[in-house]
């Protein structure tokens, strides 16, 4: 089968078969918002890296309370998750769920409303945390008024998605729908439950760590992961013009992630006063999670097999496949470092955020950009004008991620062995890793540049009035072949 080898290969009439034009506005709202928050997050992250290396330089704003490291860094991370990754994921989910449902009734108003409420939540959240209203719980820093807005936006999207699914005309189910619906339901539950228990009910101190880090596992493994995996499962077969290689592997990846994902977060605080059986369950789940993730990566590889040449010209595919493969790597790395013998060295060190960044900047961010590069030209009926810019974006992303992960992991190993030796004072340990903080600054700078390149590429579509050239002989499929859960 001939496969379109250009990024944009559709005309506006095909847009209608991909997604209904009424949904153009909400998808664009989520995409624009997500990119905006990515840029804000990148700027704040860069600032926090300067502050980590030298909190007293004029660059670090040492006497501005709302720009102190302890407020800036959490906001950058929260925006990466709740602003950038979540909003792009939701935008892509609108596209995917609608194109699979063939339901003419799913209107644009609920997603638009959700997008607006979500943005309001983020704005007041940034305001609140920088202004000194942080809850002090990692990944849950947003105060109640902000968290509630984000949660409400997410609930509206969940209701919209489920309603669309119930009213669907096309009864062919595909695995991406299952992943996306699961993400919407699980995140509404996890975010509502964690904020409700920690901020409203205010559970007793000893119960807080388990709930808090249960939520982190859900955030990564049952929100960002199913969004990303659903996107990859959906677009890669369409882009290579072949059905997904194995429905069985797809089912294994779905049920496995659903079963093990929620237990993984507790491994972040091994050794804490949390019942040991819960900690051990977390370790076991993190190791078992490798099975569904490798089932996904294998499926991706076998679907791509014989078509890997396509990732050269087809940049959307390149982002999606690289992101998917990095997810496999990140999961294996998570499993290796969770064993108690390794964790006792790396716990509390810079290797822990490095591990999170591998998922967040590697897997999730690349897949989000892959989704943008697939959807946007089809959404607005224009082609990418400057593909060189997108290539540059890809290579900047890879270099930035590589530097970030290696630099912080090596620093973390040094820090870990240093802390293990009680003869080495804490100040001496930090002195040892100071050179790596310069590499960290450079890495966050490169991430900022790649975010700018991505946002710039995004905008070039709107300045290019040309329709995409019709380079494909056969029209590209817009619907995936059925993959059922049974």
């Amino acid at each position: 089968m001939s496969v379109p080898n250009q990024l944009a290969d559709v005309r506006s009439d095909q847009v209608a078969t991909g997604v209904r034009s009424v949904l153009r506005a909400p998808i664009l709202l989520f995409f624009f918002s997500g990119l905006f928050w990515l840029l804000v997050a990148g700027a704040l992250w860069l600032l926090s890296a300067f502050q980590a290396a030298d909190p007293f330089s004029a660059w670090a704003f040492p006497d501005v309370p709302w720009l102190t490291y302890g407020r800036v860094y959490p906001v950058a991370m929260d925006l990466l998750v709740y602003g950038w990754a979540s909003m792009i994921g939701v935008g892509a989910a609108i596209w995917i769920l609608d194109s699979m449902a063939e339901n003419p009734f799913g209107g644009p108003y609920l997603p638009l409303l959700a997008g607006l409420i979500w943005n309001v939540g983020l704005v007041v959240g940034v305001w609140g945390v920088l202004g000194g209203g942080s809850t002090g719980k990692e990944w849950l820093e947003f105060p109640l008024y902000s968290a509630f807005s984000i949660w409400l936006g997410e609930i509206i999207m969940a209701v919209w998605a489920v309603a669309l699914y119930i009213g669907r005309r096309s009864k062919d189910g595909y695995i991406s729908q299952a992943f996306l619906l699961t993400a919407f339901i699980a995140f509404a539950w996890a975010y509502g439950s964690a904020n409700g228990l920690l901020q409203i009910v205010q559970v007793t101190g000893p119960a807080q760590p388990a709930i808090h880090w249960w939520f982190f596992g859900c955030l990564v493994s049952l929100w960002l992961t199913p969004l990303g995996v659903g996107i990859v499962y959906h677009f890669v077969p369409l882009l290579v013009g072949r059905p997904l290689y194995s429905a069985k592997l797809a089912r294994i990846s779905f049920w496995g992630i659903l079963a093990f994902g929620g237990w993984t977060g507790i491994t972040q605080i091994l050794g804490a006063p949390v019942p040991v059986w819960l900690q051990t369950s977390g370790i076991v789940a993190t190791v078992l999670l490798v099975v569904p993730v490798l089932a996904f990566a294998t499926n991706l590889h076998l679907t791509m097999k014989g078509s890997f040449d396509l990732i050269k010209p087809n940049l959307a595919l390149r982002f999606l496949v690289t992101g998917g493969m990095l997810f496999g790597l990140a999961s294996v790395w998570d499993a290796i470092t969770t064993f108690r013998s390794i964790n006792r060295i790396l716990e509390f060190t810079l290797a822990v955020p490095a591990r999170t960044y591998l998922t967040l900047i590697g897997f999730v961010t690349l897949v989000c950009f892959g989704a943008i590069y697939y959807i946007l030209p089809r959404l607005v009926g224009r082609s990418w004008k400057y593909t060189k810019l997108i290539q540059l974006h890809f290579w900047f992303s890879m270099v930035a991620l590589g530097l970030l992960a290696f630099d912080l992991t090596i620093a973390g190993v040094i820090q870990g062995f240093g802390m293990l030796d009680p003869q080495v004072s804490m100040a001496a340990v930090i002195d040892l890793i100071k050179p790596f903080l310069q590499g960290y600054i450079l890495a966050t700078l490169l991430i900022g540049v790649s975010a700018l390149l991505g946002a710039g590429s995004f905008l070039t579509v709107f300045v290019n009035p040309a329709w995409a050239p019709d380079s494909s002989e056969a029209p590209e499929p817009v619907i995936n072949e059925e993959v059922s859960l049974a």
Partner: protein, 207 residues
């Protein structure tokens, strides 16, 4: 086709299991913890957290102290926390039973603070550290928190808790630097961080 009931049922059963294990079970099982009363001395462990220290929770949270400081001591088999003198026994659940807002932390860019109130008992030390960490370690990566302090003209006698500052940090003649209410509650909170009472489930580690 994929039935919606299968997806929702799957979420509720498989995901719900983790919710039960990591959210509901700890919530229910830790709610009934009782303090330990020494049969001889009638000493209650852990002791109550003073009210002013409880007001310090939000200052600790607001300034993101948890980004760099953890608050739990692991068992000797899990790391060198005890060898580093960050505590003479591991932290157990009961240590936190009177803490309303817990900041465990997952990063040690600075030392663990579980027992910082044992290591330092002088509020003045904390004030000066927060005002200018470089006084204690010229190479430190800890930021200064000067917005927790205010400079004021000395009215008659200098204030009881005025900071003893020298050199470049010293305020002009006739002026003094005093902690704000926020700094006072934060330092009260830090001073309250001590697990120096015995609990039967966590015997002191042997040298």
């Amino acid at each position: 086709m994929n039935r919606l009931s299968k997806i929702i049922g799957g979420v509720f059963i498989l995901f719900g299991f983790s919710w039960w294990g990591l959210a509901v079970y700890p919530y229910l099982s830790f709610a009934g913890l009782k303090a330990n009363v020494d049969p001889n001395t009638k000493a209650v462990a852990p002791p109550d957290v003073p009210g002013v220290a409880q007001q310090g929770y939000h200052v600790y949270a607001a300034n993101g102290c948890v980004s760099c400081h953890s608050q739990f001591v692991r068992d000797q088999s899990e790391g060198s926390d005890i060898d580093r003198k960050w505590g003479n026994r591991r932290t157990v659940a009961r240590d936190y039973m009177k803490v309303d807002d817990l900041f465990l932390g997952v990063s040690r860019f600075g030392p663990d603070l579980t027992n910082v109130g044992v290591r330092q008992k002088d509020a003045q030390w904390f004030y000066r550290y927060l005002y200018d960490p470089k006084l204690f370690n010229p190479e430190t990566t800890m930021p200064r928190y000067r917005w927790l302090f205010k400079e004021q003209a000395i009215a008659g006698e200098s204030a009881r808790n005025a900071l003893k500052l020298e050199g470049a940090d010293a305020p002009g003649p006739g002026y003094e630097v005093v902690p704000t209410a926020e700094a006072e509650s934060l330092v009260a909170y830090l001073l309250s961080l001590k697990q120096d009472y015995p609990l039967p489930e966590a015997p002191e580690a042997k040298e």
